[in-house]
Symmetry: C2
């Protein structure tokens, strides 16, 4: 069964399209863990311990995690080892793993990124990688080739969640389309050969919850493109704003939340992993109350 | 003295705007080095040895190296350690170091990438980082802030060297500009506070040698933007095609060559590092014959 179908079936089984964003930075750790950090190696150790406890605590209530590679690259090789171990641990616990790297390059070099994250010899158990399509089709082709060869997936940036995203993405083209609409059309084309039984492709799009008008427009234009939806929580997006990303069967996207889950203990009190689980349970209720039943 | 001025002075002193692209992959290594590779750790070891010998051999004839991070990420944490050691070694040998990562993300996350590559605690001695501006100004601001704080630089993708680059980048906007022209204007704005004595900013643009009409157009539009020019050699660009990137004083860009230098021994014979040096000497002659004297 194609990756995207397995992912959707897990979302349906859990009635939860939540993705826990493991954008773990030292500031998010409890004081007693922060105190143990003296260098990059000890930072990576404490972040890995934190991530594992979070994964243990949430793996039966959410289908997926998104690991923000920038948070690990900060610590050099030690950080990358922590990223790999986090991805592999999440995979062992049955979670779908999205590596958020927004990688991009010209063809042959893009192929090395594809090998790094999606290839058979990849050092990390990643299902989906985020990519940036500014270079056009030949910069994405090596990624989609690897998706076909190894049953992996992508999320390409289309309409990002940040305040300045419209600066380039919402510019109108001569043909009447906006840049993000045009990019959305490219993503649909890139994923055309990886569409599964639910009508969605393993090549999806990043569409921010913080721009509901654009998100609704994209859902209508791109019925076969699955969305990775950042921006819920700390960035200002909520369930009502992102409801438009989902189809009549309550499918079509996965919603990321990072700080709202990792730092829930700062609001709820108690152990960070217990608070994270509670935040996931609350988010499941919030999303399912708003989106409705997932699956026919 | 601002980074971009120091870089330009070194280019003038050497009369050579060449950047050696350390896109080192196993296939580029001599057979006897390839034979020693059994896993990621030994691959990283052999690549590091190759890079060091290349650096030793070229560091008095070229001003800079560009390290393609994708080639190192393929080997996981061991590869990243090799990337760091390569950057640090090149820096020790007096070379300007461009990390080619095309990184991009929303504001706070972009800040982590900025810390990773340009910050005071960075694990690698990088001068310039390549970035992708699809997310707009708030995704670039953390990088430019770090450039100001730590005297570092950027090269943002404007018109890339790959065949599909026009697919998005050459689209015409409603206002008559193309997407790449608009992006070029953003880059100029992002670098406005980092312009040095030669009139160029430490925030530059990636402009491929393979698209001379667009390159000439950008040089005219963006007199204060320094160009990182990929595409010379294996990708089909030559000195005549990229001459338009340079101003009347023979300044305005640095030209990358990867395979043509790293694999020169396959054509010229002899030791790979001697052939690489010869290829750099030949490239210096080719560029200076075409561009003319660099500096007033």
């Amino acid at each position: 069964m194609l990756l995207i179908d397995r992912f959707i079936e897990k979302i349906i089984a859990m009635q939860n399209p939540t993705c826990v964003g493991l954008d773990t930075i030292v500031d998010y750790l409890p004081a007693e863990m922060q105190e143990k950090i003296t260098d990059n190696t000890t930072a990576a150790e404490q972040i890995l311990e934190f991530n594992k406890k979070i994964i243990d605590s949430v793996c039966d209530v959410v289908p997926s995690v998104k690991i923000q590679i920038a948070c690990y690259e900060m610590y050099g090789a030690a950080g990358i080892a922590c990223f790999e171990q986090t991805a592999n641990y999440a995979k062992e616990k049955g979670l779908f793993v999205i590596a958020d790297g927004k990688r991009n390059d010209i063809g042959n070099t893009a192929g090395f990124y594809a090998q790094a994250f999606l290839g058979k010899k990849a050092t990390c158990a990643v299902d989906f990688l985020t990519v940036n399509g500014y270079l056009g089709t030949d910069g994405i082709a090596p990624f989609t080739a690897e998706c076909k060869a190894s049953d992996k997936g992508l999320f390409a940036l289309v309409k990002t969640s940040n305040p300045s995203s419209g600066e380039l993405q919402n510019l109108k083209l001569e043909n009447g389309q906006t840049v993000y609409e045009y990019m959305g059309g490219l993503v649909e084309k890139w994923g055309a050969e990886l569409v599964g039984a639910y009508g969605y492709s393993s090549v999806g799009a990043v569409v921010g919850a913080t721009h509901p008008a654009e998100a609704a427009n994209l859902r209508q234009r791109l019925p076969g493109v699955f969305f990775l939806i950042p921006g819920y929580g700390a960035q200002g997006g909520n369930a009502e704003m992102l409801k438009c990303c989902f189809d009549k069967n309550g499918l079509g996207g996965v919603v990321n939340n990072s700080r709202g889950i990792l730092c829930a203990y700062k609001k709820l009190g108690g152990a960070y992993y217990d608070a994270a689980r509670q935040a996931c349970v609350d988010m499941q209720k919030d999303l399912s109350d708003t989106i409705g039943k997932m699956g026919k």
